[in-house]
């Protein structure tokens, strides 16, 4: 035992130098290239692609070295970035999901708006090059771009062509309206090809946020929060209530099957349980890999008695925020990288590889020219839907603080409605009440 104790002691001593020698981070800045840290939440294949982009940028010049670091999920990445800022160890670039946008905009000196960064560093930059429906989500009321869109997606319809055929439906004609979704679902279920007609991923994003934009209806006052932190939610309006009444009814009849939050409903579609799913356009590659049947895509359905529908869908995904508190030399590198990221070649490659939207018109055109949409039918649906009409104040995007928690409130309300625990009106009234409480809290916290 004595020997073992000695051994343990010796081991401890060996570990001590390790304790001392940390902080490799800033040390080499003088000798080597200037290091730029980019915290992101891209896992798996996407993470590999992010690293490839960084490698491409690093080999394109010798002054800067971009270092991407995976910090877990979107929520974890954002919290890590905020904790780091409070301790003065923040990265240069941080990827933030769209629901975090409200909090980032209120971040004052913690961030450097992208348009300002470009001006300050003299980087050539024209915000008109970017898809306005994408950047709209990330601009201030004057139209200045605050963050750089990176991975944006929008929800679309995916449908199982084989199940459609089995049910005697035209596999090239997806439903256009909710009435058709209902009718198709009935046929699909009756044919025995599937257990339920349709499901949805990301329930709040799809059935409240995008549903409202698509029907040119606000989900909150003050232009969906763009014009002030004192906004209030209005999702207990007749349209959203009507839609949730229908969904609850369809759930009861077995036409709709709730599949859980986030992307959890994926499995219902890829396993052939349901014939249709509403999901992020970025799920295209995943669906290709996991479905052993042919599927098609279509635009989101609408109620054809609603004036102004369909308008355009809004985005989800994440954008890149530049963090405050770094040196001008480093910001030059950040600006240069953002420009590199926006170049048509890099964008088109990212778009085609991941299924996220291209953020510039040039990248969209390049993809067209390369014949990408011909070769991969169904991939352009998202773009056509995004750009169907010019966005209005109701379909430009959302800007609410505390939206991470608010989305949780919305999801909870939807779950209580779909399970029949509450009526659509009760559930959405409650969601508005709790959501407004969180908005007031955000307003109070950020004054």
């Amino acid at each position: 035992m004595r020997k073992r104790l000695l051994l343990a002691g010796a081991l401890m001593l060996c570990l001590l130098p390790l304790f001392a020698g940390g902080s490799q981070e800033q040390v080499s800045a003088q000798d080597g290239p200037i290091e730029i840290f980019w915290w992101h939440a891209m896992g798996g294949k996407l993470g590999e692609k992010v690293d490839a982009i960084a490698a491409g940028f690093n080999s394109s010049q010798a002054v800067y070295k971009l270092i991407p670091v995976n910090k877990g999920s979107y929520a974890e990445t954002m919290t890590a970035g905020i904790a780091a800022f409070r301790s003065g160890t923040q990265p240069h670039i941080m990827q933030v999901f769209e629901v975090g946008t409200g909090s980032m905009m209120a971040a004052g000196k913690a961030i450097v708006p992208v348009y300002e960064l470009m001006k300050r560093t003299g980087q050539a930059f024209n915000s008109a090059d970017y898809l306005s429906t994408v950047t709209g989500y990330y601009t201030d009321p004057k139209g200045n771009m605050l963050s750089m869109p990176f991975n944006s997606s929008t929800p679309i319809l995916y449908y199982n062509k084989e199940a459609f055929k089995a049910a005697g439906l035209d596999p090239e004609r997806p439903p256009k309206t909710w009435a058709e979704v209902e009718a198709y679902s009935k046929k699909l279920v009756a044919s025995g090809a599937v257990k339920a007609g349709f499901t949805t991923a990301w329930p709040s994003w799809l059935m409240i946020e995008n549903f409202s934009a698509w029907h040119d209806t606000p989900i909150g006052t003050k232009s969906n929060g763009f014009e002030g932190k004192d906004a209030e939610f209005t999702i207990n309006n007749p349209l959203v209530v009507r839609h949730h009444e229908n969904l609850a009814q369809w759930q009861k009849e077995g036409l709709f099957r709730y599949g859980g939050r986030q992307g959890n409903a994926d499995a219902l579609f890829s396993s052939g349980e349901v014939g249709m799913i509403f999901n992020s356009s970025a799920g295209y590659a995943g669906a290709k890999a996991s479905c052993d049947f042919e599927f098609g895509t279509g635009m989101l359905p609408y109620y054809d008695d609603v004036k102004g529908a369909p308008r355009n869908s809004i985005i989800g995904g994440a954008s890149l925020w530049v963090m405050g508190g770094h040196s001008e030399g480093e910001y030059k590198g950040v600006a240069q990288f953002l420009a590199y990221l926006s170049s048509p070649e890099v964008q088109a490659d990212w778009h085609q590889f991941t299924g996220y939207l291209p953020i510039t018109y040039a990248a969209y055109d390049l993809s067209k020219k390369q014949g990408f949409y011909q070769k991969n039918p169904g991939t352009e649906t998202a773009l056509l839907q995004m750009t169907l009409n010019a966005p209005t104040a109701n379909s430009k995007g959302l800007r609410f603080g505390n939206f991470v928690q608010i989305r949780d409130v919305f999801n909870s309300a939807q779950e209580s409605i779909f399970s029949g625990e509450k009526s659509a009106q009760e559930g959405l009234d409650e969601a508005v009440r709790q959501g407004n409480a969180l908005l007031r809290k955000f307003e109070a916290d950020n004054t």
Binding site: R2, R4, L5, A8, L11, M12, L15, L18, F19, A20, G22, S23, Q24, E25, F37, A41, M42, G43, G44, K45, L46, G47, E48, D51, A54, A55, N58, I67, V69, N70, K71, G72, S73, Y74, E76, T79, A83, S87, G88, P91, F97, N151, S153, G263, D266, S270, S271, S280, A282, G283, A285, G286, A287, A289, S290, C291, D292, G317, A318, Y356
Partner: protein, 284 residues
């Protein structure tokens, strides 16, 4: 009191097999999933027999870390090394400080010992995740972010090991101490040459518990490390799952899950006898 008749033994075996099957089924399931392609996993029902993609998936699981464009993302080897350093550091740290503290609590009377004991008890209660944001700030103030010390230290502030040692020491007969005193052994000699050997099985059990605890940490290493150089294998694993809008590559994730679970499983399986012995001795 072992059962001796043949029928009884057979029945026990049947019951044990059912139980083991139930308990191990999730693990088996993971293994099966790690040997198929994604398409097969997403079907209904998922196959229950291992597929043909074993080599492909595991090769990718092992390589993916380093294949992620090499320069940035940590390689699988480096993540494993970090996990090992963290787990060993937490184990050694906890065992050593707990041994010393428990020794003081049991073998000495000193002012403040009750207070200290209560302070230790309270730390049993709050997992690091709850106090994680203030802890981060403190680590930043102490300039310990992105260091192995920063990885390890906050995770050794807990009481379990101190408790175990305290109980173990209390069960040691006073005659042993008496004899040592008569032989003229001082407290340090007693501690090193008598107490440590006598309680070695408790130490072994604690090593197992703490190693597994340390190896399986996730949230703190993720938050603390701002460079991939300090990523652990679990951080890497979760990075694969966090595909957000996209479909995760479940087969590769499952293969990595198996790889990441191997070291702690090996530790508990290899040390199970010492572990049980250590726990048994405590109850004397």
């Amino acid at each position: 009191m072992a059962v001796e008749n043949k029928g009884g033994i057979l029945l026990l075996h049947v019951l044990c097999i059912i139980g083991v099957a139930l308990i191990l089924f999730p693990m088996y399931f993971v293994f099966v999933a790690s040997t198929h392609n994604v398409q097969a996993i997403m079907q209904k029902p998922m196959p229950l027999i291992p597929g043909t993609q074993f080599i492909v998936n595991y090769a990718r699981a092992i390589a993916s870390g380093s294949r992620m464009a090499g320069a940035f993302s940590a390689s699988g080897a480096s993540m494993l090394k970090n996990s090992a350093i963290m787990a060993v550091g937490i184990t050694l740290g906890k065992v050593v400080i707990a041994f010393l503290a428990a020794y003081a609590l049991v073998y000495f009377r000193f002012r403040g010992s009750t207070l200290f004991f209560w302070m230790v008890i309270i730390t049993l209660m709050l997992p690091v995740e709850i106090r994680i944001l203030p802890t981060y700030k403190i680590m930043a103030d102490l300039k310990l972010l992105d260091t192995y010390a920063g990885l390890i230290l906050p995770l050794i502030a807990s009481a379990t090991a101190t408790f175990f040692y305290r109980q173990s020491f209390l069960s040691i007969p006073d005659e042993l101490t008496e004899a040592a005193m008569i032989d003229g052994a001082g407290p340090l000699r007693f501690m090193v040459f008598i107490l440590a050997p006598v309680t070695r099985t408790t130490t072994a059990a604690l090593v197992v518990v703490q190693f597994i605890y340390g190896w399986n940490q996730y949230l703190w290493p993720l938050l603390m490390a701002s460079t991939p150089d300090l990523h652990t294998i679990l951080v890497g694993l979760k990075a694969m799952i966090a595909a957000e809008e996209q479909l995760p590559e479940w087969n590769i994730i499952m293969a990595t899950t198996i790889l990441a679970a191997l070291p702690p499983v090996a530790v508990i399986v290899l040390m199970q006898e010492q572990f049980i012995e250590g726990m048994t001795e405590k109850e004397k």
